[in-house]
């Protein structure tokens, strides 16, 4: 890996978005992910390499550190921001089709439910894994999901619920999705969910945590 990609890797791993950002202290004053990406592109590094050799592996390492409880969420959030700052530079290449996300992941907390901390974490980590995220927020009805599926017909759909009275709404939503798009993959999660419930409502996969979700998604993508 070239030196510049190594630096970019480091910037993302430690959450340095741009030069102006005061975080992390040990990289103060140095270039951030934004500048490093620009430099790389200027130096004719293939955007695909930037994505696949620096950004995604860096976020993978971050995800791993998080799941090994070696960092807290804020550090992960900073890394996600750094990745975002790099993406700003890569945008034109996504637009031109030169590079692609692994796929699109539509996620939302089901209707009646406002809990979103877990869902947000999942979004972030899946995004770090190289997926395009369409976050529908909380209290999301069937209709909203279907609308977005129209827009992103190949998307994988993720449902989150934290209440025992709203997890049952997942069933309606899965049914609605199946009617419209029988082959769409639906991934579910949230504290009260388990495998049995997943099978019962006919969803495709239950992930207990974001890492498991990413593993599953990557299997689909490959």
């Amino acid at each position: 890996m070239s030196e510049i990609l190594e630096k970019l890797f480091e910037a993302v791993e430690f959450g340095k978005a741009d030069k102006a950002s005061p975080f992390p202290p040990q990289l103060k004053g140095q270039d951030g992910a934004n500048e490093l990406t620009k430099n790389a592109l200027d130096a004719d590094v293939d955007p695909k390499d930037i994505l696949e050799q620096a950004l995604i592996p860096a976020m993978e390492r971050v995800g791993k550190k998080f799941s090994e409880q070696k960092i807290f969420v804020p550090q992960m959030l900073m890394s996600a921001k750094a990745m975002g700052a790099s993406m700003v530079q890569l945008k034109p290449f996504f637009a031109s089709g030169k590079i692609k996300e692994k796929g699109t992941f539509i996620i939302g907390t089901v209707k009646g439910d406002l809990h979103d901390i877990g869902k947000n974490l999942v979004s972030m980590i899946v995004e770090g894994g190289g997926w395009k995220i369409v976050d529908l927020g909380v209290d999301v009805s069937e209709d909203k999901f279907l609308e977005k599926i129209d827009e992103y017909p190949n998307a994988v759909i993720g449902l989150s619920a934290l209440l025992t009275t709203t997890m049952v709404n997942m069933e309606d939503i899965v049914k609605a999705i199946r009617t419209k798009k029988p082959d769409a993959r639906v991934l579910i999660g949230g504290a009260p969910i388990n495998d049995d419930f997943c099978q019962k409502i006919g969803a495709d996969y239950y992930a207990a945590d974001p890492q498991k979700a990413v593993e599953y998604l990557n299997k689909i993508a490959s």
Binding site: Q69, K70, I71, F72, V73, P74, L77, G112, L114, D116, I117, N120, L121, G137, D139, L163, T164, T165, M167, V168, N169, P192, F197
Partner: protein, 458 residues
């Protein structure tokens, strides 16, 4: 802040079962009057609530109340509080909530008339306002059903009323995940305080009209959420400990507006409220492991007046229904405390010491709940001239206490944790004492699309 001096200023007097201002209920519980009671919390199993299921919903609550009170009776309980924390549909359609209160009240009355077992319902409607983003804390149409449930629910037999209100949560949600202590301060000591003033004036008004008991408001979405996140190792425990202390200035507003306790369980700001205001409180710890894991299983009971399990679904265990099983567990916990109370000061002190020693140095969140530290922090929480200053002082004292415990070798914390201490201190020190100055300082740093200042009277 209304309170200028501690009502309880000596750690020895901060004791379970005894509050300077006990609360007497309709059926004769004297909460904080020398006895600890169980507060059972419960919820539905996995199911939806709609017109097709509402009959079954009602049956669940009747079964829960019957099972719990029958067991309590069998165990010679001295009295029980049943907390009915509603699920959304029950506040959105107040009739559903009111019917459930009636059903449970009927059961309570039966056990009272037939067997002399005193019980009371704590009614805790949802704060529906968070369904709108940005939240319309003062002008939302969702306030009407909330107030309807309070009013009609009290008529139906809800004697204690509480809520876990959400003013400031639109800011704190992100702040928690970013461990941004300044934003937490803004959410709680500015937005939270102002929303509590607005809301609790209303609630106390409704309760007083009916001679019912305005009990209190727990910073669940803030302090409890922080604890759960810290328990999952998502955020540092030192941060969660600070959030708890800061939430005191927000939750105490209920008392300033006329609430008399027992304060609600899940934010754990109760011990501070008890020290400052003298009201009785409810706490939860090990016996709430059905609802969430906890770093403060024993120490949480050190000065509580009600002992709660936070929440358990009405599902079957091998022995019987889960709420019945948790009723039993709470009753046995409470028996130990009551026996100690009967034995006099010395036995209470010794038992409390066991509870404290058991947890105190295992987690900064436990540390701040040791009676000595509660008193020390509470003093700081009164010193200033604004809620902001008070919260800041309390938080700084908490940092001192944590650092002293580390320095003395009594508490061990990982590098990951201790790395946050100087950052948190620096951030706290940067906060001015004046609310308006603090607002001016924060506004440019925040995403103002997320909250509406006018909805907080600003």
């Amino acid at each position: 802040m209304k309170y200028k001096n501690l009502i309880i200023s000596s750690p020895q007097e901060l004791m379970f079962g005894k509050a300077p201002s006990p609360v007497k209920t309709r059926r004769g519980l004297i909460i904080g009057g020398g006895q600890v009671y169980s507060e059972l919390n419960f919820t539905l199993p996995t199911m939806s609530i709609n017109s097709n299921t509402v009959k079954r919903v009602n049956e669940h609550y009747r079964e829960i109340a019957e099972g719990a009170l029958e067991r309590a009776l069998h165990l010679n309980s001295k009295g029980v509080v049943l907390e009915f924390e509603t699920l959304l549909e029950m506040t959105k359609t107040p009739q559903i909530g009111v019917d459930i209160v009636s059903i449970m009240n009927e059961v309570c009355e039966k056990y009272y008339q037939k067997h002399g077992l005193a019980s009371e319902i704590r009614l805790t409607p949802n704060d529906l306002r968070e369904f709108e983003r940005p939240a319309k804390q003062r002008t939302s149409e969702l306030i009407a059903p909330m107030m309807e449930l309070f009013e009609r629910g009290m008529e139906a037999g809800g004697d204690l009323v509480s809520i876990e209100s959400t003013g400031g949560k639109e800011v704190s949600d992100d702040a928690l995940m970013m461990c941004d202590i300044k934003a937490i301060m803004f959410a709680l000591s500015v937005l939270g305080v102002r929303d509590m003033q607005f809301l609790w004036k209303k609630i106390v008004g409704l309760a007083n009209k009916q001679g019912k008991i305005a009990a209190g408001d727990s910073a669940c979405g803030f302090a409890n959420t922080a604890m759960v996140l810290a328990e999952k190792k998502y955020i540092p425990k030192v941060f969660a400990a600070l959030v708890r202390v800061i939430s005191v200035v927000r939750s105490i507003v209920a008392m300033e507006e006329g609430a008399v306790g027992p304060d609600k369980d899940c934010g754990y700001e109760g011990p501070f409220l008890k020290a400052i205001t003298g009201i009785p409180i409810s706490m939860e710890g090990k016996t709430a492991a059905c609802a969430h894991f906890s770093p403060i299983g024993n120490i949480a009971s050190a000065c509580t007046d009600l002992w709660s399990n936070e929440s358990v679904q009405n599902i079957k265990l091998l022995s019987g229904m889960a709420p019945t099983a948790y009723m039993e567990q709470l009753e046995y916990d409470v028996r130990l405390m009551n026996v100690a109370l009967k034995g006099g000061d010395q036995s209470c002190q010794l038992f409390q010491q066991l509870m404290v020693d058991s947890d105190v140095y295992t987690d900064p969140q436990a540390l701040v709940l040791a009676p000595e530290n509660v008193i020390r922090i509470s003093k700081e929480l009164l010193k200033g001239d604004s809620y902001v200053a008070n919260a800041k002082n309390g938080a700084l004292a908490t940092l001192d206490i944590i650092e002293e415990a580390i320095a003395s070798g009594q508490m061990e914390l990982s590098e990951m944790e201790t790395a946050y201490l100087p950052i948190l201190r620096e951030d706290l020190n940067s906060i001015p004492d004046s609310e308006s100055e603090f607002i001016d300082m924060m506004l440019p740093l925040m995403d103002q699309s997320k909250f509406i200042l006018e909805e907080y009277g600003l």
